[in-house]
Structure formats: C-alpha cells, structure tokens
C-alpha cells in the first residue's frame, strides 16, 4: 500500500480558512450595506453576489479565467507589474473558493441584520454612538448566530469546491489539487485506498462541523 499523501488535506483546510476569512472581511460590510440601503445599485449588487450560488461551478470558473487569466488585462497587469500569477497557483485556488463561498456568508448575515429591530439602532444613535460603533457593539453581537451559520456554510462550501477550483487552479498534485480533486484523481488512478481514506476524512470533517454547530446552538438556547 502506498503511503497516503495528506497534502490535499492541508491545502484544502488552508484554502478554506483563508477564503472564509476573506469572506468575513469583505462579506460582512457588503451584507450590512445590502441590509440597510435600498435602490437599483443595491438590487444589482444583491443579484451579483447571489450569482455564484446558481451558476454552474465550471461556468463560474470560466468567467474567472476570462477575468483573471494571463490574457486578461487584470492578469497581465498582475503578472507584468507585480509578478503575481493567479491561474494554476494556490492563490488562484483561494480566489475560486472565496467566490463560490462568499454568497453564503452574505445571505446569512444579511438576513440576520434585517431581523434586528430598528429601535435598537435608533436608541444607540441617540445615546451618542456613530454607525461604525453601533455596527460593532449592537449589530454584530445581536446577529452573531446568523454570521456564524454563514461562516460555517462558507467554510464547508470552500472545502468542497471542485469545478471552479479545477478551472482556475488546474490539477497540479502537490500544488493546487485540493481534497475533492485528489479524490477524483485517486479514483481515476484506481487507488481505492487513497480515495476511501480521503472520502472518510471529508465526511469526518463535515460531521464534526455539524456537531459543533448543533452543540453551540443548544448552548445558546440553554443560556
């Protein structure tokens, strides 16, 4: 039996963590903006941020290639001026994972923000706080459950992405092949032990995350 190469696991975990963090930093302000403003720009942004949920992953990957590939203006700029290559690199994989997973965080947080009673915010305003301060002291603490739920879905979606990652990152063992791609590779190569092992690990992680969420929810209910 070949020794099992666990690099895909490390890569997947690192990529998912990175993309979840990026989603948090970019997604929360977007969710807040979408929850408190109205108008055409907001509707457009809302649709745009939901698009990755409904688009097939390969289509999404294709768009990303067109947008960020070596032939695109953005890709050329990054390559010529900064020496950064996105396509077929781990950075590209992170971008792909972020794009497919960020809508889940935005949707979940936005719903949580919208449920907050406007009176809380008005009370805080009259007590002399500015909007950013209110965001940190009132909005986030009240809606943290929705945000955590969004983060979890975001993480799992990033962990499990296949199509978009394959389009952008390719399938370079030891560099860009994440867990789902490694499972596919193992199956293609007839390495059943490897495939079984990786599938078990993935299932284990999924069950564990669900377990953590459930026990957290129960704690909140009891507390």
């Amino acid at each position: 039996m070949d020794s099992i190469n666990l690099f895909p696991l490390y890569l997947s975990l690192a990529v998912s963590l990175c993309s979840t963090l990026i989603s948090l930093v970019i997604g929360l302000p977007i969710a807040y903006f979408l929850s408190c403003k109205r108008g055409r720009v907001v509707n457009f942004l809302d649709t745009l941020t939901s698009l990755p949920i409904v688009l097939p992953p390969t289509v999404l990957g294709y768009y990303l290639l067109v947008l960020l590939g070596r032939q695109s203006p953005v890709g050329q700029f990054l390559e010529n001026s900064l020496g950064i290559m996105l396509v077929f690199t781990p950075v590209g994989v992170v971008i792909a994972a972020t794009i497919v997973s960020i809508p889940y965080l935005i949707k979940s947080s936005k719903t949580a923000f919208l449920e907050i009673n406007e009176d809380y915010l008005n009370a805080a305003r009259l007590l002399g706080r500015n909007e950013f301060n209110i965001f940190l002291t009132i909005i986030i603490p009240i809606s943290w459950r929705g945000i955590v739920a969004g983060l979890t879905m975001c993480f799992m979606r990033a962990l499990g992405d296949f199509g978009t990652t394959l389009m952008i990152g390719g399938n370079i063992p030891g560099q860009t092949s994440t867990m789902p791609i490694a499972i596919y590779n193992a199956l293609q190569a007839g390495n059943k032990d490897m495939a079984n092992m990786l599938v078990l690990i993935m299932t284990g992680i999924a069950v564990m995350v669900l377990f953590i969420i459930n026990s957290m929810e129960q704690k909140v209910k009891r507390g």
């Binding site: 009673n117 009259l126 002399g128």
Partner: protein, 356 residues
C-alpha cells in the same frame, strides 16, 4: 424652548405639525396612525422631514432652508421606546452604561450605580432584559436615557406594552421618577386621554397629520376648540343647536324639540353650532327639583361598566349618554329628571374642523 415646524409627505396623508413649548410635559394625543409617533421620530432625527425646522434652546436640529440635519447622536435627546428597545445582549448595568462611554471609568461606575439606586433597580444589574418584568424594563430604559442627561425627553406610548393592572402603578412611579430626576421638556405620545390628562400639563391633539394648538389640559376638557378635540377627549354627546334667545349670562339653545340653557362662552359663537356635553356631567335629579335645565326622559338602555354605568336616554327626541355612579339606584324612571348643567355645556362652531 422647543420649536417644531415640519412638513412631510407620508403617502396616505401629509404630516404638517408646528408647535412650540417652553417647559413642562406636553401630551401628543391622537388616534393610531395619525402621525404622532412620526412627529416624535422626526424630532429625534430618525427621519428627515421634507420641509421645516426643528430647534431646541436655540440650537438648530433640522432646517430645510439652511440645509442642516444634525444626526441623532448629536441631538442630546432621550427617548423611551414603546417596547423600550433595551439591548438584549447586554445586562442592565451595560445597558445603562452604554450612553456614557466617553466618561472616565470610575466616574461611569459611580453614575451607573447612582442611577440604578434612583430607579430602584438594585440587585438587577447583572440581569438581562429578558429576565426583567415590564416595570423593571421600563425603569431600565428610563435610566439608560436619563444618565446621558438629555435636553429633551421623548416618551413614545411608554405604557402600551404593559398589563392594565400594573399600568396605573407604573404611571405614578414613572411620573415621580421623571419629576425627581429631570427638569427639561418632556413630550409624551399617547392615544389615551386619561393617561395624557394624568401625566401632562398641556395637551396637543394631532389628527391626520395636522396638529391643533397646544392647550392647558383643563382648558381642553372644558372648552375643546373643535369637534375632533371634543371627541378625542372622550365627549359622547353632541347636539346640533340653533340660538333662539340670549340673556347677559346665558344662551338659550334649541335642538329639535329640546330647549336648554348654556352659559355664554368667552368667545362669542354664532352661526351653525354644535353643543357638547360630557356624559359624566349629566345627572339625574329628583322629580321635584326646582333648578333649570331639567327634563323628563325615557330610558333607552342601561350599559353596566366596571366603575360606572352608562344610561342612554331619549330626551325630547335627543339621544344622550349619561354616566352614573354604580351606587346610583334608578328605581322608577318616572321619579327622576335629567339635569343638563348650563356651565358644562360647551359650544363648537360647526365645520370648524380645519386647522386653527
């Protein structure tokens, strides 16, 4: 000194409110959806009106002409919300502390504890709002508001979320607390004339987005300026009358077959008039009484209430509601006459429903 003059299009009607107030407690009275809460929210700065000006002690909060719209956080306004809007994730202590974060730590500690004592919240500082009773929540909300030392205190139906039996107790308590710890201007929004009368010095009626002038509460009850004011303040008996005679003191009025006297109002009334008389001012007197304005009546219906009974009578073709005490025993209706006290009759010019 609070000066408000605002116009705002609310879709179904226009909010058009203007008044000014030097001090004391002013009740904004009106039926639900008349714009009274909206007025409060506009003063607090949650909405900008289309037009107008809001000034407090000379400081401009809002002016459409000068393009000034001071954000809520700079207005120094205290606001007690209908559901109190206590922050659910913070303890009583942290809720009260929220508005004075700019002060030093030990000073804050002192102030919060002082406020907790004054609002009788001892022992509750580590409780969350969901663990408090309605009255405790209300006091916490008041504490949170008053600790920031606002220049203006706005109360938005503060008793509507409470059960009837605790409502009156809390009302007395709240007024005491406010009078002892606050001496700025207070605006109270309510739809209940009894509540407004008990709490406020002055009352302003709002109807369909328009306000009537600010009036002293006694004056408003004795001499309502118009039909709406009379109805909102609980008057049930209205008679369309014509003037048939007048002496130095009295007017003789006729409504259908009923002829009665009313004391001459200070401001002369002429033309089409409506006479109003409150149900609790009407009374029954024994048949042999000699004073004026006594009439034989036919009882139509007796409605029993908790604290008083309402007797609906037909008096020479006019249907009137008479409120009597529970101890009043009617016995034989023929034994009694209905007495309309001339002093208590007020006159309103008919169709005087427009503003001012």
């Amino acid at each position: 000194m609070l000066e408000v003059s605002i116009e705002h299009n609310l879709g179904s009607f226009n909010l058009d409110v203007s008044f000014s107030l030097n001090k004391g407690v002013l009740g904004l009275l009106g039926s639900s959806g008349c714009g009274k809460s909206m007025t409060l929210k506009t003063i607090a700065g949650f909405f900008a009106p289309d037009n107008g000006e809001i000034k407090l002690n000379g400081e401009i909060f809002y002016s459409s002409k000068q393009k000034i719209n001071l954000p809520s956080r700079k207005r120094k306004i205290g606001y007690v919300f209908q559901n109190y809007a206590l922050f659910p994730h913070m303890t009583v202590y942290k809720n009260i502390d929220y508005g004075i974060k700019h002060l030093k730590k030990d000073e804050r500690y002192k102030k919060v504890n002082e406020m907790i004592t004054r609002m009788q919240l001892e022992g509750l500082s580590n409780h969350y709002p969901s663990q408090l009773s309605g009255g405790q929540q209300q006091r916490t909300a008041l504490a949170r508001t008053l600790i920031a030392e606002p220049d203006l205190l706005l109360l938005d139906e503060p008793f509507s979320a409470l059960d009837a039996h605790v409502k009156q107790l809390l009302e007395i308590e709240l007024i005491e607390l406010i009078k002892n710890s606050y001496n700025g201007i207070v605006l109270l929004v309510t739809h209940d004339i009894e509540e407004a009368y008990r709490i406020c010095d002055q009352i302003m009626i709002i109807e369909k987005g328009m306000n009537y002038p600010v009036m002293g509460k006694k004056d408003l009850i004795c001499h309502p300026p118009n039909l709406t004011a009379a109805m909102i303040t609980g008057c049930k008996n209205f008679l369309d009358v014509t003037l048939i005679d007048e002496s130095d003191e009295n007017l003789r009025l006729q409504s259908g077959r009923l002829i009665f006297d009313a004391v001459k109002p200070v401001q002369p009334v002429d033309g089409m008039m409506t006479a109003g008389i409150r149900a609790h001012h009407l009374s029954f007197v024994p048949k042999d009484s000699v004073n004026d304005n006594n009439y034989a009546v036919e009882v139509v219906e007796v409605i029993e209430g908790v604290y008083s009974n309402t007797i609906i009578v037909n008096c020479s073709g006019c249907v009137l509601r008479v409120e009597t005490s529970k101890t009043f025993d009617f016995g034989m209706p023929e034994e009694w006459l209905l007495h309309i006290p001339a002093k208590r009759v007020f006159l309103i010019k008919r169709d005087q429903r427009d503003k001012h």
